[in-house]
Amino acid sequence: MVEELKILTGYCGRYNYASVKEYVSLGGYQGLKKALAMKPEDVINEVIVSNLMGRGGAAYPTGEKWDMISRIDNDPKYIVCNADEGEPGTFKDKKLIYNDPMKIIEGMTIAAYAISSKKGYIYIRGEYREGYYRLKEAIRSAKAAGYLGVSILGTTLDFDIEVVSGAGAYVCGENSALCESIEGKSGRPRLKPPYIKNVGIYGQPTLVNNVETFSCIPYIIEKGGKNYASIGTESSAGTKLVSVSGNVKNPGVFEIPFGVTLREIVYGLAGGVEDGNVLKFVQMGGASGACFTDSDLDTPLDYKALRSKRISIGSGAIVVADQTNCAVDYALMTMEFFLHESCGKCTPCREGNAQLCRILKNLVLGTANEKQVRHLENISQLMMKASSCGLGKAAPTAVLTLYSNFKEEFLEHVEGYCRTGSCNISRKKAVV
C-alpha cells in the first residue's frame, strides 16, 4: 500500500502554530539560517535546481519566476502568498495555514532575501477567518523572536508580512485580481501585459506564489535543490498535497511523492468508494478541472503524464463521484459556480457561462433539444479561446470532459430520462 511522504506536512499538528520556539525545536528556520549565509543568486539557483513548480494551479517553474523578478531593478518589490484557495474541493493550503504557518512565513522570508523585498502580504480567503487570526499571531511571534522585522537574525535583511483578508470571490485567486483586491478594490483581473512581476501591487514588481509553494522552500534550501529534485519523478519534482473528497471512505489531505498513481490515491489513501458504490468519474483540480473515468486512474500523479491525457493537476483537488450522480447535473452545478464567480468584465465568459447554464438547466428539466446539446461544445470552445483570464478559459472544462465521457447520458436527458434519477428529472422515465 502506498504511503505518505511528509517532508512538507511533517510538523503539522506537532507544534503550537504561534510558537517560534517549538517550531525551531522541531528543526524549523534551518532553511532561512542557511539562506542568509548564501548569496541571493545562489538561493534562487537552489530553487531552480529543485525543479519546483508552482502549486497554485498553473505549475509555473518557481525558480525561474524568482530569477526574473530578482533582475527587475525597481523598488519596492512585493511578495504575495496566495492563500485564496477557492477551487471547490481544495483544502490543502488550509492544512498548512492552520497547522504550520511558521513554514509559510519562513518560505516567504527566504524569498524576500532572494529577490530583495521588504514587504510581503498573505492574502487569505475570507472564509478562513480562523486562519487569518492564526497567521497574524504567528507573524507577531516571529517578529518578537527576530525572524521578521528589521535586521532579521542580525543581518541586513528587513522584511515584514501583513495578512490581508478576502471576502468571498473566487476570481481574486487570479494574481492580478489578487493585487486589485489587496488594494481594497473589487477583484477584477487586469489586462495583461504588463505582468504582475513587473507591475503588481501599487504598480510595483510583485512575486505571487501559492501557500504550498512557499512552504516547500525551507526544505529545498536546507537539504538542497538536488535532494528535492530526486524525490518524485523526472518531470515532477518533490511531493504534492492532494485534497481528496466526495464519495470516498476516507477523505482528507495527503502528501505523496509524484509518481504515485491516481488509483493508489483514491483506493489506497482515500479508502475507495463509500457504501459499496462504483466510481463514475473523478474531477481533478477543482471546478476548473477535467472529469475522467476509471480508465485514466492508472496514470501517475505527474505533470507530464497527466497532460498527455489532457488532465491538469490544478490545485490538487480530487473529487470522486459515484454512480448515483448525474453527469449533467454535476456539469450544471459546476457551471453555476462559474456563472456566479465570473467578474463579468468580458463577454465570452459572462455570456458563455450563462448560455451553458441555460442549456444544462434545460437538460435536467427535460426540455432541451439535441441542437442545444451540440451548442455546448461550440460555446465551450469559444470561451476557451476568447476569454480574457484563466477563469473563463477553464470554466467549460468540466462540461466538455463530462460530455465526451457521458454523451449517451446527456442525450438521454433530451429524451426526458435520467438513468440515475438524481437530477431535476428525478424520475427514470421510459424512453419514448
Binding site: 483544502f91 481594497g184 452545478m333
Partner: protein
C-alpha cells in the same frame, strides 16, 4: 447599525490603509446584529478610510460574503459545491429549510436564522457541510442538524 465605540475599536485595531478595507467590512458586518453593513456604518468606514462611499458600495456588492441587506442573527451557510453536491448536499438544504420553515435567501420571522447557499468553504472532507458564523459542521444527517440548530436557538 453597529455601536460607535465598536466601530472605533475595529478601525483602531486594523488601521485604515486600503489593504485593511475588506477585513474591516467583514468585522463590522459580523459585529452588526443582522450580519450586514448599514448605510451609517458604510459612511463611517468611507470617512475613516478617506475613500468615496460609492466605492465602498461597489466593493460590498462585488464580494459575496458582504451584504448591504439585513440578513439574520445566525447565517447558516450551506455548501453547494462539488464534494458536498455528490454527498447529497441538496437533501441537507431541504432538511434545513424544512426544520426552519424558510427557503435559502430568507430569514426566520424572529430573524434568528438566515439560510444562504454558498460555494466551497474548504470543509470538503466533512461533506455535506454547513457553516454557522465561523463554526463548521459536517457529515450531517437530520438528527445532527436538528441538534445543532437547537443549540443556536438557545444561544
Amino acid at each position: 447599525m453597529v455601536e460607535r465605540y465598536k466601530l472605533e475599536e475595529i478601525v483602531e485595531i486594523n488601521g485604515t490603509t486600503e489593504d485593511k478595507l475588506l477585513t474591516t467590512l467583514l468585522e463590522v458586518q459580523s459585529a452588526s446584529e443582522l450580519n450586514y453593513i448599514s448605510q451609517e456604518d458604510a459612511e463611517f468606514i468611507a470617512e475613516k478610510f478617506g475613500i468615496p462611499l460609492n466605492r465602498i458600495y461597489e466593493v460590498i456588492s462585488f464580494y459575496s460574503m458582504l451584504s448591504m441587506k439585513p440578513r439574520g442573527k445566525h447565517i447558516i451557510e450551506v455548501c453547494k459545491s462539488s464534494a458536498c453536491h455528490v454527498r447529497k448536499g441538496k437533501n441537507l438544504l431541504k432538511m434545513l429549510e424544512d426544520i426552519l420553515g424558510i427557503k435559502a435567501g430568507e430569514a426566520t420571522s424572529d430573524n434568528n436564522f438566515y439560510i444562504e447557499e454558498v460555494n466551497c468553504f474548504g470543509a470538503c472532507d466533512k461533506a455535506p457541510a454547513i457553516k454557522i458564523g465561523n463554526d463548521i459542521y459536517g457529515n450531517l444527517d437530520r438528527k445532527k442538524l436538528t441538534e445543532i440548530i437547537n443549540r443556536y436557538w438557545e444561544a
